[in-house]
């Protein structure tokens, strides 16, 4: 379904930006915050949950 492909592309983009943010962020607390956001994005991208 095209809408699913578009959705997964958006999720992949947000995932990349979040990981980029994880590595550019200076505060460890905010790095941990970004890591938490990564978890559901991975599960969503893989259509597991």
């Amino acid at each position: 379904m095209i809408i699913t492909l578009i959705y997964r592309a958006i999720v992949a983009l947000v995932l990349i930006f979040t990981i980029w943010n994880l590595f550019t962020e200076k505060k460890v607390a905010l790095q941990a915050n970004a890591a938490l956001v990564v978890i559901p994005l991975i599960l969503r991208f893989l259509m597991i949950k």
Binding site: F23, V28, Q31, I42, K49
Partner: protein, 383 residues
């Protein structure tokens, strides 16, 4: 980007990947279907996709167990697991197919009608993931406790308003994933409409005369301890209901509302030649008034908040400290199948269906040591 930052970022990412892997495995594991052991009398196992090829390879394809009697007769379909968060509906179909011997006619059993709904749980309900039993051989069996509707991974996005294709009826958007709002289905619809369509094709192609759809409802829901039947079923349904009441089972008989669309008891009766019957039993674990939700509650039906609610007159079924154990709820469904089938075969004598070895209400519930209720006794009927 300093070296220190990279190290802490890497540690955070590895932790996130580890958590995603562990939780992802858990989510993938629940997609594995429960192992069922049909009785030795099963004659054929088909798939729902045999009746509508579009379901092949989807999470909605599901086994159909076929039991043919030695004598020709009518045919009957049992739908379990239409709503996978209603365990007695699923487990009654399982107990039937693991014990039955069909003498006359043909019986089709689909224990997981909404297979997709068994692969997730309803959000924010804290439902148990599995129900566990010890079978007659002392081995552990486990069965999924799923969600009311299909997994949104399999069918999305939900519309704001779900419009039933056949009638134009408008319901909440999430009902688009509710199999029992999608009948008679359509071949070019969403996954649940296709699933409903496949079940309708099974009924039409096999000439199914009598269809049972097994459910549970929360104790505060008015349609409880009840049979809902299409108007064309009323003659034999009334006879069967009287038999059930004479056996001490509190069962009401309600006509299918003509203006409530998408449900088995309405659409299967309108769009096919089958006689559809839907039965409800009380399940505290899906109710709104319940306390802590866990496997014990789903199996025993015990909940102190429902006892209080009953004293205040807020529920539609008797509720005391004994709860409503799974044996009682499954026993009601099985005895209902037995009595309604007998009554149907008596009135429609040109298409009789008869079977044996299915545990009834007494065997499953009333003749049982109370200490064995809430799972152990039900397990003794599993292979």
């Amino acid at each position: 980007m300093g070296k220190k930052n990279v190290i802490s970022a890497t540690i955070c990412l590895v932790a996130a990947l580890t958590i995603a892997t562990v939780t992802g495995k858990n989510f993938m594991d629940v997609k594995a279907p429960d192992t069922l052991h049909p009785s030795a009398n099963v004659t054929e196992t088909k798939m729902l996709s045999d009746y509508f090829g579009d379901l092949k390879g989807t999470n909605s394809d599901t086994p159909i167990y076929v039991f043919k009697g030695s004598k020709p007769g009518g045919s009957m379909l049992i739908l379990g697991g239409t709503h996978p968060n209603e365990p007695a509906g699923y487990l009654a179909a399982v107990a039937f197919l693991e014990n039955v011997k069909v003498d006359q006619g043909t019986v089709y059993v689909i224990p997981r009608a909404c297979n997709s709904g068994f692969t997730n749980n309803d959000a924010q309900e804290a439902s148990p993931q599995y129900l566990h039993f010890t079978n007659k051989n002392g081995q552990e069996r486990q069965f999924r406790y799923g969600s009311r509707a299909a997994n949104p991974v399999d069918q999305w996005p939900d519309p704001d308003v779900y419009i039933h294709a056949g009638s134009g009826q408008q319901l909440s958007g999430s009902e688009t994933r509710n199999l029992n709002r999608c009948y008679p289905g359509r071949p070019d619809g969403n996954l649940m409409e296709k699933t409903a369509y496949a079940i309708v094709q099974l009924i039409k192609n096999e000439g199914v005369d009598l269809t049972f759809d097994l459910h549970e409802s929360s104790p505060e829901y008015p349609v409880n301890d009840a049979t809902v039947a299409h108007e064309k079923c009323m003659d034999f349904a009334a006879e069967g209901m009287l038999e059930l009441q004479m056996e001490g089972i509190n069962m009401s008989l309600e006509p299918s509302p003509t203006n409530l669309h998408g449900l088995t008891h309405r659409e299967l009766g309108d769009y096919t030649n089958t006689y559809p019957i839907l039965m409800e039993a009380p399940n505290a674990s899906q109710g709104r008034l319940r306390g802590a939700t866990n496997e014990e509650m789903a199996l025993t039906g015990k909940d102190k908040f429902y006892v209080s609610a009953a004293k205040l007159g807020f529920v539609y079924v008797p509720y005391d400290e004994n709860g409503h154990p799974i044996e009682e709820r499954v026993g009601r469904h099985l005895q209902g199948i037995i009595e309604y089938t007998k009554a149907f075969s008596s009135i429609h004598s040109d298409k009789p269906v008869s079977f044996e070895n299915v545990p009834g209400y007494e065997e499953m519930f009333t003749d049982t040591d109370p200490s064995q209720l809430g799972g152990p006794h039900f397990g003794s009927f599993l292979n």
